[in-house]
Protein backbone atom coordinates (compact mmCIF):
# COMPACT_ATOMS: atom_id res chain seq x y z
CA UNK A 1 0.00 0.00 0.00
CA UNK A 2 2.72 2.60 0.79
CA UNK A 3 4.37 1.45 -2.43
CA UNK A 4 1.25 2.19 -4.50
CA UNK A 5 0.70 5.51 -2.74
CA UNK A 6 4.30 6.54 -3.42
CA UNK A 7 3.97 5.80 -7.13
CA UNK A 8 0.62 7.62 -7.31
CA UNK A 9 2.06 10.59 -5.39
CA UNK A 10 5.07 10.68 -7.67
CA UNK A 11 2.77 10.81 -10.71
CA UNK A 12 0.75 13.68 -9.21
CA UNK A 13 3.89 15.66 -8.30
CA UNK A 14 5.35 14.97 -11.73
CA UNK A 15 2.21 16.15 -13.52
CA UNK A 16 2.01 19.28 -11.36
CA UNK A 17 5.66 20.08 -12.04
CA UNK A 18 5.29 19.61 -15.80
CA UNK A 19 2.27 21.91 -15.86
CA UNK A 20 3.72 24.60 -13.57
CA UNK A 21 7.00 24.58 -15.50
CA UNK A 22 5.28 25.08 -18.85
CA UNK A 23 6.07 21.68 -20.38
CA UNK A 24 2.36 21.14 -21.16
CA UNK A 25 2.34 24.34 -23.25
CA UNK A 26 3.61 23.46 -26.76
CA UNK A 27 4.29 27.13 -27.44
CA UNK A 28 6.74 27.27 -24.54
CA UNK A 29 8.40 23.99 -25.52
CA UNK A 30 8.82 25.05 -29.15
CA UNK A 31 9.99 28.45 -27.93
CA UNK A 32 12.72 26.70 -25.94
CA UNK A 33 13.74 24.68 -28.99
CA UNK A 34 13.72 27.84 -31.13
CA UNK A 35 17.33 28.53 -30.20
CA UNK A 36 18.07 30.37 -33.44
CA UNK A 37 14.90 32.45 -33.35
CA UNK A 38 12.83 33.90 -30.53
CA UNK A 39 14.38 31.74 -27.78
CA UNK A 40 12.45 31.18 -24.53
CA UNK A 41 14.85 29.93 -21.81
CA UNK A 42 12.10 28.89 -19.34
CA UNK A 43 12.55 25.16 -19.90
CA UNK A 44 16.23 25.42 -19.03
CA UNK A 45 15.06 26.36 -15.51
CA UNK A 46 12.69 23.36 -15.47
CA UNK A 47 15.46 21.01 -16.56
CA UNK A 48 17.99 22.60 -14.20
CA UNK A 49 15.70 22.43 -11.16
CA UNK A 50 14.73 18.82 -11.84
CA UNK A 51 18.29 17.65 -12.47
CA UNK A 52 19.60 19.40 -9.32
CA UNK A 53 17.02 17.77 -7.04
CA UNK A 54 17.47 14.40 -8.70
CA UNK A 55 21.27 14.64 -8.41
CA UNK A 56 20.81 14.82 -4.62
CA UNK A 57 18.62 11.71 -4.77
CA UNK A 58 21.39 9.88 -6.65
CA UNK A 59 23.82 10.81 -3.86
CA UNK A 60 21.44 9.39 -1.24
CA UNK A 61 20.54 6.25 -3.21
CA UNK A 62 23.81 4.24 -2.78
CA UNK A 63 23.63 4.87 0.97
CA UNK A 64 20.32 3.03 1.23
CA UNK A 65 20.38 -0.75 1.48
CA UNK A 66 17.03 -0.82 -0.27
CA UNK A 67 14.25 1.60 -1.27
CA UNK A 68 11.94 2.78 1.54
CA UNK A 69 8.91 0.84 0.28
CA UNK A 70 10.32 -1.90 -1.96
CA UNK A 71 12.69 -4.83 -1.66
CA UNK A 72 15.35 -3.76 -4.14
CA UNK A 73 16.43 -1.04 -6.54
CA UNK A 74 15.64 -1.62 -10.21
CA UNK A 75 17.93 0.80 -12.02
CA UNK A 76 19.20 0.70 -15.64
CA UNK A 77 22.77 -0.54 -15.86
CA UNK A 78 23.51 -0.37 -19.60
CA UNK A 79 26.36 1.91 -20.69
CA UNK A 80 26.66 1.03 -24.41
CA UNK A 81 26.03 3.75 -26.98
CA UNK A 82 24.16 1.86 -29.68
CA UNK A 83 22.96 3.21 -33.04
CA UNK A 84 19.46 2.27 -31.87
CA UNK A 85 19.74 4.55 -28.83
CA UNK A 86 20.98 7.48 -30.90
CA UNK A 87 18.58 6.90 -33.79
CA UNK A 88 15.64 6.57 -31.40
CA UNK A 89 16.60 9.72 -29.50
CA UNK A 90 17.02 11.58 -32.80
CA UNK A 91 13.55 10.46 -33.90
CA UNK A 92 12.04 11.41 -30.55
CA UNK A 93 13.55 14.91 -30.80
CA UNK A 94 11.99 15.41 -34.24
CA UNK A 95 8.54 14.47 -32.94
CA UNK A 96 9.04 16.65 -29.86
CA UNK A 97 9.98 19.60 -32.07
CA UNK A 98 7.06 19.16 -34.48
CA UNK A 99 4.22 19.44 -31.95
CA UNK A 100 6.03 20.64 -28.81
CA UNK A 101 4.89 17.67 -26.73
CA UNK A 102 6.75 14.77 -25.12
CA UNK A 103 5.15 11.77 -23.35
CA UNK A 104 4.64 13.15 -19.80
CA UNK A 105 3.15 16.51 -20.81
CA UNK A 106 1.05 14.78 -23.49
CA UNK A 107 -0.58 12.61 -20.81
CA UNK A 108 -0.87 15.47 -18.29
CA UNK A 109 -2.50 17.66 -20.96
CA UNK A 110 -5.44 15.21 -21.14
CA UNK A 111 -7.16 17.49 -18.59
CA UNK A 112 -5.98 20.74 -20.23
CA UNK A 113 -6.90 20.15 -23.89
CA UNK A 114 -8.54 16.68 -23.85
CA UNK A 115 -9.10 16.07 -27.56
CA UNK A 116 -5.69 17.30 -28.74
CA UNK A 117 -3.90 15.42 -25.97
CA UNK A 118 -5.90 12.23 -26.61
CA UNK A 119 -4.92 12.30 -30.29
CA UNK A 120 -1.27 12.78 -29.39
CA UNK A 121 -1.24 10.06 -26.69
CA UNK A 122 -3.10 7.56 -28.91
CA UNK A 123 -0.65 8.18 -31.75
CA UNK A 124 2.26 7.87 -29.32
CA UNK A 125 1.02 4.49 -28.09
CA UNK A 126 0.56 3.43 -31.72
CA UNK A 127 4.17 4.41 -32.43
CA UNK A 128 5.33 2.41 -29.42
CA UNK A 129 3.28 -0.58 -30.54
CA UNK A 130 4.70 -0.29 -34.06
CA UNK A 131 8.25 -0.65 -32.70
CA UNK A 132 7.19 -3.69 -30.72
CA UNK A 133 5.63 -5.23 -33.87
CA UNK A 134 8.72 -4.56 -35.98
CA UNK A 135 11.00 -5.91 -33.28
CA UNK A 136 8.99 -9.11 -33.25
CA UNK A 137 7.45 -8.92 -29.79
CA UNK A 138 4.06 -10.47 -29.14
Amino acid sequence: MPRQLTIFGSGILFGAGLTLGGMTDPKRVRGFLDLFGNWDPTLAFVMGGAVLVMAVAWIVQPRLARPLFADAFSIPTRRDLSPKLIGGAALFGIGWGIAGLCPGPGIAALVIEPISAAIFVSAMLAGMFLVRLVEGGA
Partner: protein
Protein backbone atom coordinates in the same frame (compact mmCIF):
# COMPACT_ATOMS: atom_id res chain seq x y z
CA UNK B 1 10.39 37.91 -12.00
CA UNK B 2 11.40 38.90 -15.52
CA UNK B 3 14.56 37.65 -17.12
CA UNK B 4 16.49 40.49 -18.78
CA UNK B 5 16.26 40.13 -22.55
CA UNK B 6 13.52 37.46 -22.37
CA UNK B 7 10.20 39.17 -21.53
CA UNK B 8 8.14 36.03 -22.22
CA UNK B 9 10.18 33.70 -20.00
CA UNK B 10 8.83 32.58 -16.62
CA UNK B 11 12.00 31.46 -14.83
CA UNK B 12 10.50 31.13 -11.33
CA UNK B 13 7.55 29.00 -12.46
CA UNK B 14 10.04 26.99 -14.52
CA UNK B 15 12.34 26.44 -11.56
CA UNK B 16 9.39 25.59 -9.29
CA UNK B 17 8.06 23.11 -11.83
CA UNK B 18 11.51 21.61 -12.24
CA UNK B 19 11.91 21.14 -8.49
CA UNK B 20 8.52 19.39 -8.33
CA UNK B 21 9.57 17.09 -11.19
CA UNK B 22 12.86 16.40 -9.40
CA UNK B 23 11.01 15.62 -6.15
CA UNK B 24 8.66 13.27 -8.03
CA UNK B 25 11.60 11.43 -9.60
CA UNK B 26 13.43 11.32 -6.24
CA UNK B 27 10.33 9.89 -4.56
CA UNK B 28 10.15 7.20 -7.23
CA UNK B 29 13.86 6.32 -6.85
CA UNK B 30 14.20 6.40 -3.07
CA UNK B 31 10.64 5.23 -2.36
CA UNK B 32 10.25 2.30 -4.73
CA UNK B 33 13.69 2.02 -6.34
CA UNK B 34 12.72 2.94 -9.88
CA UNK B 35 13.37 5.48 -12.62
CA UNK B 36 10.50 7.89 -13.29
CA UNK B 37 10.69 7.53 -17.06
CA UNK B 38 7.28 8.45 -18.41
CA UNK B 39 7.58 6.80 -21.84
CA UNK B 40 8.60 3.48 -20.26
CA UNK B 41 5.88 3.64 -17.61
CA UNK B 42 3.23 4.57 -20.21
CA UNK B 43 4.34 1.68 -22.42
CA UNK B 44 4.09 -0.62 -19.41
CA UNK B 45 0.58 0.65 -18.57
CA UNK B 46 -0.49 -0.08 -22.15
CA UNK B 47 1.16 -3.54 -21.91
CA UNK B 48 3.45 -2.64 -24.81
CA UNK B 49 6.63 -3.31 -22.85
CA UNK B 50 7.76 -6.06 -20.51
CA UNK B 51 9.16 -4.89 -17.21
CA UNK B 52 9.07 -5.91 -13.59
CA UNK B 53 6.88 -2.88 -12.84
CA UNK B 54 3.33 -4.16 -12.23
CA UNK B 55 0.86 -2.85 -14.82
CA UNK B 56 -1.38 -1.57 -12.00
CA UNK B 57 1.50 0.50 -10.59
CA UNK B 58 2.23 1.92 -14.03
CA UNK B 59 -1.41 2.99 -14.25
CA UNK B 60 -1.25 4.72 -10.86
CA UNK B 61 1.66 6.87 -12.08
CA UNK B 62 0.00 7.58 -15.43
CA UNK B 63 -3.28 8.62 -13.78
CA UNK B 64 -1.36 10.84 -11.38
CA UNK B 65 0.03 12.99 -14.22
CA UNK B 66 -3.26 14.62 -15.31
CA UNK B 67 -4.36 14.88 -11.66
CA UNK B 68 -1.26 16.91 -10.91
CA UNK B 69 -1.96 19.06 -13.96
CA UNK B 70 -5.51 19.59 -12.70
CA UNK B 71 -4.26 20.86 -9.31
CA UNK B 72 -2.01 23.43 -11.00
CA UNK B 73 -4.89 24.44 -13.28
CA UNK B 74 -7.16 25.03 -10.28
CA UNK B 75 -4.56 27.06 -8.40
CA UNK B 76 -3.49 29.13 -11.41
CA UNK B 77 -7.04 29.72 -12.57
CA UNK B 78 -6.93 27.92 -15.90
CA UNK B 79 -4.43 27.54 -18.71
CA UNK B 80 -4.86 28.47 -22.36
CA UNK B 81 -2.12 26.69 -24.27
CA UNK B 82 -2.35 26.31 -28.04
CA UNK B 83 -1.85 22.88 -29.58
CA UNK B 84 -1.09 21.71 -33.09
CA UNK B 85 -3.83 20.46 -35.43
CA UNK B 86 -5.03 16.84 -35.09
CA UNK B 87 -3.05 15.63 -38.10
CA UNK B 88 0.17 17.24 -36.87
CA UNK B 89 -0.40 15.87 -33.36
CA UNK B 90 -0.96 12.39 -34.81
CA UNK B 91 2.23 12.48 -36.89
CA UNK B 92 4.29 13.88 -34.01
CA UNK B 93 2.77 11.35 -31.61
CA UNK B 94 3.74 8.35 -33.73
CA UNK B 95 7.31 9.68 -34.11
CA UNK B 96 7.58 10.39 -30.36
CA UNK B 97 6.23 6.96 -29.44
CA UNK B 98 8.51 5.07 -31.82
CA UNK B 99 11.52 7.22 -30.91
CA UNK B 100 11.14 6.71 -27.17
CA UNK B 101 10.93 2.93 -27.51
CA UNK B 102 13.95 2.73 -29.83
CA UNK B 103 15.86 5.26 -27.75
CA UNK B 104 14.87 3.68 -24.39
CA UNK B 105 13.46 6.85 -22.92
CA UNK B 106 12.39 10.46 -23.23
CA UNK B 107 12.85 13.83 -21.54
CA UNK B 108 12.09 12.39 -18.09
CA UNK B 109 14.04 9.12 -18.10
CA UNK B 110 17.08 10.37 -20.01
CA UNK B 111 16.82 14.14 -19.50
CA UNK B 112 16.08 14.19 -15.77
CA UNK B 113 16.84 10.79 -14.22
CA UNK B 114 19.77 9.78 -16.45
CA UNK B 115 21.50 13.15 -16.85
CA UNK B 116 21.49 13.70 -13.08
CA UNK B 117 23.47 10.47 -12.55
CA UNK B 118 25.71 11.24 -15.54
CA UNK B 119 24.65 8.08 -17.38
CA UNK B 120 26.58 8.04 -20.68
CA UNK B 121 23.57 6.69 -22.57
CA UNK B 122 21.31 9.43 -21.19
CA UNK B 123 23.84 12.21 -21.82
CA UNK B 124 24.15 11.12 -25.45
CA UNK B 125 20.39 10.60 -25.86
CA UNK B 126 19.57 14.01 -24.36
CA UNK B 127 22.17 15.80 -26.52
CA UNK B 128 20.74 13.98 -29.53
CA UNK B 129 17.06 14.74 -28.98
CA UNK B 130 17.83 18.36 -28.04
CA UNK B 131 19.78 18.74 -31.29
CA UNK B 132 17.13 17.20 -33.53
CA UNK B 133 14.38 19.09 -31.67
CA UNK B 134 16.17 22.41 -32.20
CA UNK B 135 16.87 21.52 -35.84
CA UNK B 136 13.23 20.53 -36.44
CA UNK B 137 11.89 23.83 -35.09
CA UNK B 138 14.54 25.81 -37.01
CA UNK B 139 13.71 24.06 -40.29
CA UNK B 140 9.95 24.40 -39.79
CA UNK B 141 10.33 28.10 -38.99
CA UNK B 142 12.58 28.62 -42.03
CA UNK B 143 9.87 27.02 -44.16
CA UNK B 144 7.24 29.24 -42.58
CA UNK B 145 5.34 26.32 -41.05
CA UNK B 146 3.13 27.55 -38.20
CA UNK B 147 1.77 24.48 -36.43
CA UNK B 148 0.29 25.85 -33.19
CA UNK B 149 -3.30 27.02 -33.58
Amino acid sequence: MILPGFPDATPLAGLGGGILIGLAAALMLLGVGRIAGVSGIAARAARISDSSLPVSSAWLFVIGLPLGALIVMWISGGLQPSFASPIVLAIAGVIVGAGTRLGSGCTSGHGVCGMSRLSPRSLVATATFMTTGIATVAIMNAMGMEVLQ
